[in-house]
Amino acid sequence: MRELDELQQDALGEIFNIGVGRAAGALSQIVHSEIELSVPQVELVPINQVRSTLSGGEFLHFSSVSQSFSGPFDAEAVLIFPEANALVIVSHMLGTHLSPEELSEYEQEAMCEVGNIILNACISVLADLFHVEFNGGLPKHRFSDRDGLGFESDYDAEFVLLLKVSMKINQANVVGHLLFLLGVQSLEALFDCLEKYLIEQGLR
């Protein structure tokens, strides 16, 4: 299977860091309090290993927001948080204290918007730097558990670009993951775009 070399890994990490940085700015404006977002590591893993990568103790129940993108490569982009962390995010943003049972449409829409802002920001940085265009779909929110991440079956993906995201809001530190689900051809196309970018920048 393809692997990311050190420079590719570093470049992708930096691109997504710029994306989440922009998203943090937009989110801070909406909720009127400072939000920090960062993406520490980028990994490329086969889709059947995603579950074990995410299967830390806190990752029993998930809250995820997914959006599909099509362009030079197609991807399902997913922002995923352990359910408890997702609650921390919406309750800080909406100023409420809720249990999972109390989560309604209202919070799910808010969570969708948060995911939409983060995912759009990442994709638009990719599009800017690679000089390409994507078509973005609307975000979907869902709850799932470890036994079914919920998105594998919808999508004919084989690889996942996996990024750990940490989000700081009002002192609370929340960790989740950003996943880009890619088919074989899309993965190749992503590598092509990335190589073109590195060459264009004189880094290869």
Binding site: Q29, I30, V31, Q67, V90, M93, L94, T96, H97, L98, E102, S104, E105, Y106, E107, E109, A110, C112, E113, V114, N116, I117, N120, I123, S124, A127, E133, F134, N135, G136, G137, L138, P139
Partner: protein, 312 residues
């Protein structure tokens, strides 16, 4: 999509071309915006709805037209933006409907589609539930007599701060405070007077706390507890002594009904295997010492080195 069908939808549908001119404006919008289709058609969205300028909706439209990104504006994170009204009377007081807005780029064409859903009813229900749940939460954690935190609040606070101190390897202090001779006070002056006394002590204590995260609660009966995060024994004794003198100054001057307090200070670096109960018993132990040494004073117990002392 035929326009006749669009006119039957219970959502607002606007189609914008690449220049952000309105190409489609359904009957729902005529009804709720109070703007005729003939006026809207070919007008700029920002002329029909000036409130769109510089808004998040404008940025979402730009993203749809230039970057082909879809966006969603939720009613929870966005104040009602567009001047859309459920009923004509709402327009007079500018009570806008709560809006869920989707912005989607058109497939295979320049332009974007904006869909507006009226979520006023559910948002209003949410607001009510939210207010109720906040009130309930408030009631669950507040002592009705004194207005400060109750025992349940204390239990949560001490456990949370204990875990935090354990994680951060920081020191944590706790004050246990008891009103001296409260039983005799109650017996002599009656329960209503006792209640007034509790309220006054609670107020004097709350006024004496630092802004830095000190948290006070009524522990039970005439006993109060104050959690002092990231405060060492010396710092905690300073706070304790200030609270004691403050109560003395405010409530011991009444010659017939003098009120004083005794304070036990517990302090420790939470370590593996220890629990918040160790700190509570430590502070209790210091409180007994303060009582034994004559009341209206502060005693101190350091659980790290076992040092127990009464302040002069």
């Amino acid at each position: 999509m035929s326009e006749a069908l669009l006119d039957h939808l219970e959502v607002g549908v606007v189609l914008l071309d690449a220049q952000q001119r309105i190409q489609l404006w359904n009957t729902w919008l005529v009804r709720h915006a109070g703007i005729e289709e003939s006026t809207a058609r070919n007008a700029l969205l920002s002329d029909v709805f000036p409130e769109v300028r510089d808004s998040r909706l404008q940025r979402a439209i730009d993203a749809a037209l230039t970057q082909r990104m879809a966006s969603l504006l939720s009613p929870g994170l966005n104040a009602p933006l567009l001047r859309l009204y459920q009923r004509p009377v709402d327009r007079r007081v500018d009570l806008r409907m709560r809006q869920l807005i989707h912005i989607v780029p058109l497939k295979g064409a320049e332009g974007c589609l904006i869909q507006i859903t009226d979520v006023t009813a559910s948002a209003r229900r949410e607001d009510q539930l939210r207010t109720q749940s906040t009130e309930l939460r408030d009631r669950t954690y507040r002592d009705t007599l004194t207005g400060i935190g109750n025992r349940r609040k204390f239990d949560e606070t001490i456990n949370m701060e204990f875990r935090r101190a354990l994680r951060g390897n920081t020191v944590l202090s706790l004050l246990m405070i008891d009103i001296d001779h409260f039983k005799a006070y109650n017996d002599s002056f009656g329960h209503p007077a006792g209640d007034v006394c509790l309220k006054m002590v609670a107020k004097a204590l709350a006024d004496g706390l630092r802004d830095s995260g000190d948290q006070i609660a009524r522990y039970g009966g005439e006993e109060f507890a104050v959690v002092l995060p990231a405060t060492d024994g010396a710092g905690a004794c300073l706070v304790a002594e200030r609270l004691r003198t403050q109560v003395e100054a405010a409530l011991a001057t009444d010659r017939h009904r003098p009120v004083t307090i005794s304070v036990g200070v517990g302090t420790m670096h939470p370590g593996a295997g220890s629990t918040a109960d160790s700190l509570i018993s430590g502070a209790d132990m210091a409180l007994y010492q303060a009582k034994a040494d004559g009341r209206n004073r502060v005693a101190y117990f350091n659980l790290d080195d076992g040092n127990l002392a009464t302040l002069a």
